[in-house]
């Protein structure tokens, strides 16, 4: 990998700039109508660099990253599958990019038709009755879902229901979302086999239960086998079931959340439907609902009116939880998901769940044969699985984090580390369906090699990585001596 790259401000030369990109100077007279006390006195601190300097700088920065296009990226719970280039190319057709969100609907019928079909396809694959596309990430979809649950209870005069139940291994966004919606969180344990502890669930539900948030397959990488019973218990207590779609890739085309009894679901289109993760977004967190929550969907949603399409808003859905984005959410991301679904089609979608599961089970088997311990050895893996390196940490004094960092030297992005917290020294590994057997085998070889190093030359592992642009970073220093913006005088 290339080594370090200067901060762009260090390339800055006063008076330089990519002038070919600038409009003509309209002259100071153009601003004569602006009162002086509202004007800026000093120019903002922005770099002054030529176009080639900027292009080279950002290209070099890109080369300091691992990505799906360059490396196997088995980051558990994130579904880092191949992002087809066609999805990007056709979502970026000039007419799509140029359209203003408030331009007349008549000038966006092609786009709206794609969005309407996307809503319909997402209903079909999830078994829900209605879909809204505007939430802009998974956590945003969670917010929409829990807000709908609250609105439903309120609409029935049942406003006391303000408790959201989550399993202790849930994604952090679940309890954080419950708080955002003004709910209290009740955590319940899972049993030794990774299923929800039904006795604990029965004890937790009651007249204050708004709902339960579940991921299935769970964050432990196994299918929640008692899902029908969980649904019965929560529904009988008057609560609703929320499906966290983070792991939808595992079951695509095999089983649908709507059929499992869920009332509301968010889908991470940047996971299951392969829109890019973009170094931390944009995602898209479309929500699907069953019959009971239909009136509460966030606006806008695409409706079909005679031969054309139009946005439905507050006047069409008077009980809506409201608007969550200034316009209609991450339109360009939704177009990419639409194109992906059309490329896959009915049969392709079934294959996604199948091959994601095949790859995970194969990788799990090969890694256990290589001497690693599955967290749930009695269970089938779903699309991902957890290894626990508790034994290695105890015997060799080499942690899961050390393995993760050493994997970088071998050219593999690390799996998710230390999540879920209830499994000690864990790696959450999700290969996805788009990886070949050869890549999985190479990953096993690397893990075996690191295990060997851990017993023969542990310092090599505990001080990894050795080949990245930087060694391990001092996170404590980062938080204590805050350096969040570049300053001309800052030491480097």
């Amino acid at each position: 990998m290339p080594q370090q790259e200067k901060v762009i401000f260090e390339y800055s030369t006063p008076g330089r700039g990519a002038e070919d990109q600038w409009p003509q100077d309209p002259g100071e007279a153009a601003l004569a109508d602006l009162p002086a006390q509202l004007r800026r006195a000093h120019p903002p601190q922005l770099p002054e660099v030529g176009e080639l300097e900027a292009v080279r700088h950002f290209t070099r920065l890109s080369q300091l990253n691992f990505s799906i296009d360059t490396h196997f990226y088995p980051l558990g719970s994130c579904t880092m599958k191949y992002n087809p280039k066609a999805c990007n190319q056709y979502a970026m057709l000039p007419q799509f990019l140029a359209r203003h969100p408030l331009a007349p609907e008549s000038s966006g019928q092609g786009f709206l038709e794609c969005m309407h079909e996307l809503q319909e396809m997402l209903k079909e694959v999830t078994g829900m009755r209605g879909v809204a596309l505007s939430p802009m990430a998974g956590a945003h979809g969670e917010f929409a879902g829990v807000a709908m649950i609250r609105a439903y209870h309120r609409s029935r005069g049942d406003a006391a229901r303000n408790e959201i139940i989550v399993p202790e291994a849930a994604h952090g966004t679940n309890p954080a979302t419950a708080t955002m919606c003004g709910c209290l969180v009740r955590e319940i344990p899972v049993d030794a086999q990774g299923d929800v502890d039904l006795a604990a669930l029965k004890a937790a539900v009651g007249p204050k239960t708004a709902g339960i948030m579940l991921t299935n397959p769970s964050t432990l990488g196994v299918f929640e086998r008692h899902i029908a019973e969980v649904a019965r218990i929560v529904h009988e207590a008057g609560g609703l079931l929320y499906y966290d779609g983070a792991n939808l890739n595992a079951i695509l085309g095999k089983v649908r959340p709507g059929d499992m009894g869920f009332d509301v679901i968010h889908m991470n289109l940047h996971k299951t439907f392969s829109t890019p993760h973009g170094g931390g977004g944009p995602g898209a967190g479309a929500v699907g609902v069953g019959e009971r929550l239909l009136p509460f969907l966030p606006v806008p949603v695409v409706g079909r009116d005679g031969g054309g399409y139009r946005w439905l808003d507050e006047s069409d859905l008077p009980q809506t939880i409201g608007r969550l984005s200034c316009f209609m959410g991450n339109a360009g991301v939704l177009l990419r998901a639409y194109i992906y679904m059309r490329l896959l089609g009915r049969e392709g979608m079934r294959r996604v769940g199948e091959f994601a599961t095949l790859n995970a089970n194969y990788l799990l088997r090969r890694l256990t044969e290589a001497g690693f311990d599955a967290a749930y050895p009695q269970r089938r893996a779903s699309h991902e699985f957890i290894l626990t390196l508790k034994r290695q940490a105890r015997d060799l004094n080499v942690t899961a984090m050390d393995f993760a960092k050493r994997l970088l030297d071998y050219g593999f992005h690390a799996p998710t580390t230390y999540f879920p917290l209830l499994v000690p020294e864990c790696l959450l590994i999700e290969p996805t369906e788009t990886e070949s057997r050869e890549t999985l085998d190479a990953f096993v070889t690397a893990m075996s090699q690191i295990l060997k190093e851990a017993s023969e030359e542990p310092g090599r592992v505990t001080s990894a990585p050795h080949t990245m642009p930087v060694r391990r970073l001092d996170d404590v220093r980062a938080a204590r001596q805050l350096d969040l913006t570049w300053k001309p005088t800052a030491p480097s």
């Binding site: 901060v7 700039g17 990519a18 600038w22 309209p26 153009a30 509202l38 120019p43 002054e48 900027a54 292009v55 950002f58 300091l64 990253n65 691992f66 990505s67 990226y73 000039p94 203003h100 969100p101 408030l102 786009f111 794609c114 079909e124 998974g138 966004t173 309890p175 954080a176 419950a178 708080t179 955002m180 003004g182 969180v185 085309g253 095999k254 089983v255 973009g278 170094g279 931390g280 608007r323 969550l324 984005s325 339109a331 360009g332 392709g348 091959f355 095949l358 194969y362 970088l408 690390a414 369906e433 070949s436 930087v470 060694r471 970073l473 001092d474 350096d483 969040l484 913006t485 570049w486």
Partner: protein, 455 residues
């Protein structure tokens, strides 16, 4: 199909390794009665050639030749380099930089972004992006409730001159946590200081101050900021980043500067794209950094003493703090922030100032051209920036339809949002519009008005 590389031989060998007879057997833990056989509602697959034809046909049905709508999303020139680099696989197909050593590119870029956006707003610290301007505004209100220890009312004053959609998003996002939003009246397109008199002596948590406001009008930001601080309230600036090349930055408003600044980042290199993906930005005082939502990158040292970048202050975030996090936000709008950082590097302080000045000059030309027509006048007397409200002697909607038929998106009809303004239209021109474009709009509107008068 489905981008799955397995051959039949691979599948057989892998199943043998697992000890399963079929892929189907791998799903044995899912109760049989829940399983589905097929997805009949999903169409058959298309190959890439077919998808290309389909999408091109759909795209060709869309769009108007000339756009004069602003209202929160602005058409600016985007240098080719911005998206050529942004869509490089190393940025496009990476994720949140959890493994810092393998993500220095993204991390350093966020640090550079934080520096640029803090500089632009005149504030000390920035985060790595929010979903969009409206959601950033809602998060700023929630943050103000945490940060303002002198206030217990969770009460936010919201000018009627703030984008109506932002007001709705704030309500939908924050009302569940008990925040109370109180709307301030509008006078001559502005927020009058007299509107605040009724709140004297009361517990107010924060005052939002849009600049320019939804109408393009310039608010008395110094006086509004000082009023907030004199009443133990925080000042939250809602700003257009392009305008900040010319206008006083929030950090310099009033005697002490605004406390939080947020806005829509779309003008910085992000295409209009029917509304998204865009990104929100948020900056604040260093004192409040621990109350901020979202990702923040810091520079630190590695084990060899070299500078490097990492996610920091993560104890604020949902994956650590869970129910006590500052927000539930996880995935943000990283790729758009990437585009904006490249955009700002290519524009620099001079290019951004020229863009702002040029957009303003074009809007003034547009206003001058259109108000020469009988029955059209500027709605407000005060100064505006690169967007303005016109008042008509007749309903705007039919005129907009006539303009659309000529390929012109003529602006936003304000009557559904502000019926008290009568027949009002919000228009915007940016540096992308030529004198000829503006003349075309003028001619088309003159025809449409003449036709409407004759009808």
């Amino acid at each position: 199909m489905a981008f799955i590389p397995h051959t039949e031989a691979d599948v057989a060998a892998m199943l043998a390794a697992i000890g399963a007879d079929s892929i189907e057997q791998l799903f044995e833990e899912i109760p049989r009665e829940l399983r589905i056989r097929s997805l009949d509602g999903i169409p058959e697959a298309l190959n890439e050639m077919q998808v290309g034809r389909l999408m091109s046909a759909r795209a060709q049905r869309d769009g108007l030749r000339l756009n004069f709508i602003g209202a929160g999303a602005y058409e600016h020139h985007i240098p080719s380099a911005v998206w050529a680099i942004t869509t490089r696989g190393e940025f496009y197909s990476a994720y949140t930089p959890y493994q810092a050593e393998a993500s220095q590119g993204t991390l350093q870029l966020i640090y550079e972004f934080q520096t640029m956006i803090a500089g632009l707003t005149g504030m000390q610290v920035a985060n790595a992006s929010m979903y969009d301007g409206a959601s950033a505004c809602a998060e700023a209100a929630l943050m103000a409730v945490r940060a303002n220890r002198k206030s217990h009312a969770a009460r936010i004053l919201v000018p009627g001159t703030l984008h109506p959609h932002y007001r709705r998003v704030m309500q939908a996002t924050a009302a569940n946590q008990g925040l109370k939003f109180e709307e301030l009246p509008v006078a001559e397109g502005l927020t009058p200081l007299s509107a605040l008199q009724s709140f004297e002596g009361q517990d107010v948590t924060a005052l939002l101050i849009p600049q320019p406001n939804f109408f393009g009008q310039l608010e008395a930001v110094d006086a509004l900021t000082d009023w907030a601080h004199a009443h133990n309230a925080l000042a939250i600036a809602v700003v257009n980043p392009t305008a900040l090349a010319i206008l006083k930055p929030p950090g310099e408003w009033g005697a002490d500067g605004a406390d939080i600044a947020v806005g829509e980042g779309q003008p910085l290199g992000v295409p209009l794209s029917s509304g998204g993906p865009y990104f929100g930005f948020m900056t604040t005082r260093l004192d409040f950094v621990r109350q901020m939502p979202g990702r923040i990158v810091g520079r630190t040292l590695d084990a060899a003493g070299r500078a490097g970048f990492t996610l920091t202050l993560q104890a604020r975030e949902q994956h650590i703090r869970r129910a006590k996090a500052t927000s539930n936000i996880c995935t943000n709008q990283g790729l758009l922030m990437t585009a904006a950082t490249i955009y700002l590097s290519l524009l620099g302080p001079q290019g951004l100032a020229r863009t702002a000045a040029s957009a303003h000059a074009r809007t003034r030309e547009l206003v001058a051209t259109l108000t020469r027509l009988p029955g059209v006048r500027a709605a407000f007397p005060g100064p505006y920036f690169h967007e303005a409200v016109l008042q008509f002697d007749r309903p705007v909607a039919p005129l907009l339809r006539a303009l659309a038929a000529r390929g012109i998106a003529g602006g936003l009809d304000l009557s559904p949002y502000y019926p008290q303004l009568g027949h009002a239209l919000l228009v915007c021109a940016t540096e992308t519009k030529t004198a000829e474009d503006i003349a075309q709009y003028g001619a088309a509107l003159a025809e449409a008005m003449a036709a409407a008068r004759a009808a």
